[in-house]
């Protein structure tokens, strides 16, 4: 528990509750601009009741995420807990422990070589075929349809199953486990435990099968690869890798597909511009990532040695929460930050973090988002929201933000 005095207050007395309430599913909280201006390192109270400090300016978020003294040791005795539930959520679970034991950097190196931009670009035709199939099924069922349920939710799981060499016939089970493991608020602890057990049993059998008959998937590669020190990943680490890919790559991308489409359709001139000029897809995806006002919790960091952020001393033992989304709306970093400019370039947004721990799967996420947008523009140029943008509702989840449904017609 970091103390409330970690960072001097902003003179207003009490700390804000974090996450900040969203007034509108697609619009940023009004507090962001005030915080960036007046309280760049603001005391907040997390759902657990523990205190932390919220960082909202672009330069500061980038600095903290790249700063080695701001660590991911959120299991330190005096680190703020994000939520009060016993598992501590995805920021502090057994998977993270197992991988920390493996030496996170070693694990990351072994995965990074698999997630290169070139390799992800090679997956593109497969991702496109999967998207076309999901769009076929959605069109067959007719409109109005929930684009999130029909395309956004299944596509990333299908992609992860392909990466892991999981057969098509098992991917619906995978999707269900993923949903249960991630939606800590929607299911009871018993259901989550059961899903966890089933998932681990499945992964154990799957690893066995891959060992006997390796394919060209990520797990087969990891099973047979030794790193430069001659080390291999253990079965526990390999199973944890599968779960890590689901945690990192499913709900995040699924929600982003929904939010991206909703943002582009909420002001339909955006969609029409892309239909007229699909070469803007690449920059439009980056701008959607930057413009996302509801990406979720942000990135917590435990301060292991005192640092200075925005001119304030942040003592050792504090917990900082970086709001990449608030930073992405910082007018000092982005001209016209409050406007969605589909051709913005360069667009050094922080949606994937920054520094040595920035998102390992960002090339995959980019490839998926670009492919989905390409396919939707080609297949459904008349796509529109089936509800007024104000009627879109944010999901309840704590970690990853998104829209409950994205009702569309065409």
């Amino acid at each position: 528990m970091s103390s409330e005095t970690a960072v001097s207050g902003n003179g207003r007395g009490s700390a804000l509750s974090y996450p900040l309430p969203l007034e509108d599913a697609l619009e940023p909280p009004a507090a962001w601009a005030v915080l960036r201006e007046e309280a760049p390192v603001a005391p907040v109270v997390l759902p657990s009741g523990d205190g932390a400090s919220l960082v909202t300016r672009y330069d500061d978020v980038k600095q903290v995420l790249s700063e080695p003294r701001c660590t991911r040791q959120l299991d330190a005795d005096d680190a703020a807990r994000v939520s009060a539930n016993e598992s501590g959520g995805v920021f502090n679970d057994s998977m993270a422990e197992s991988l920390a034991g493996a030496g996170q950097q070693r694990w990351r190196r072994m995965l990074t070589k698999w997630f290169t931009a070139k390799r992800m670009t090679m997956l593109r035709p497969d991702i496109e075929a999967m998207t076309d199939r999901l769009v076929d099924e959605m069109v067959e069922r007719g409109h109005p349809a929930d684009l999130k349920a029909c395309v956004g939710f299944p596509l990333p799981v299908w992609v992860i199953c392909a990466l892991l060499g999981v057969p098509d016939s098992d991917r619906d089970r995978f999707a269900r486990w993923s949903d249960m493991l991630l939606n800590l608020t929607r299911y009871g602890q018993e259901e989550i435990d059961a899903a966890q057990a089933q998932f681990h049993a499945y992964m154990a059998g799957h690893l066995e099968a891959k060992r006997a008959d390796p394919g060209d998937d990520l797990l087969s590669t990891l099973i047979t690869t030794t790193d430069s020190d001659g080390g291999r990943l253990t079965d526990a680490e390999l199973a944890a890798t599968g779960q890590a890919l689901l945690i990192a790559g499913h709900e995040t991308t699924a929600n982003m597909i929904g939010k991206m489409t909703a943002m582009l359709l909420a002001d339909r001139t955006r969609w029409e511009r892309l239909v007229a000029d699909p070469s803007l897809v690449r920059t439009a995806v980056e701008e959607a990532l930057r413009f996302d006002a509801n990406p979720g919790f942000g990135m917590p960091r435990y301060v292991k040695e005192g640092v200075e952020v925005a001119g304030a001393e942040v003592p050792r033992g504090s917990t900082l929460v970086c709001s990449m989304a608030a930073a992405n709306r910082d007018e000092t970093a982005f001209e016209d930050a409050g406007r969605m400019r589909l051709d913005r370039s360069p667009n050094p947004h922080l949606a994937f973090g920054a520094g040595p721990h920035s998102c390992l799967g960002q090339s995959l996420a980019r490839t998926e988002l670009q492919t989905v947008l390409d396919v939707l523009l080609r297949r459904l140029p008349t796509l529109e929201l089936a509800v007024a943008p104000e009627e879109l509702r944010p999901v309840e989840g704590l970690v990853v933000g998104g829209l409950r449904e994205v009702p569309v017609r065409w």
Partner: protein, 65 residues
């Protein structure tokens, strides 16, 4: 234009390869950046500047010499 990369800083995100695939690549062994040319053609300059700007690790430096 002169381009340099810092392999130690590189985190293997591959953003540079997506921005300027004719100038940047990633090593097969560990995904670390490979500079294909330190003096790219003028037609690549905008893409290279973008790659440097969007690199999450700040591992790419561009100078106008």
């Amino acid at each position: 234009m002169n381009v340099t990369v810092d392999e130690d800083k590189c985190c293997g995100a591959g953003a540079c390869v997506l921005a300027a695939p004719d100038v940047f690549d990633q090593r097969d062994e560990d995904g670390v950046v490979v500079l294909l040319t330190a003096g790219p053609d003028a037609s690549e300059h905008a893409a290279v500047r973008e790659a440097a700007e969007v690199c999450p690790a700040g591992a790419i430096t561009v100078s106008d010499s």
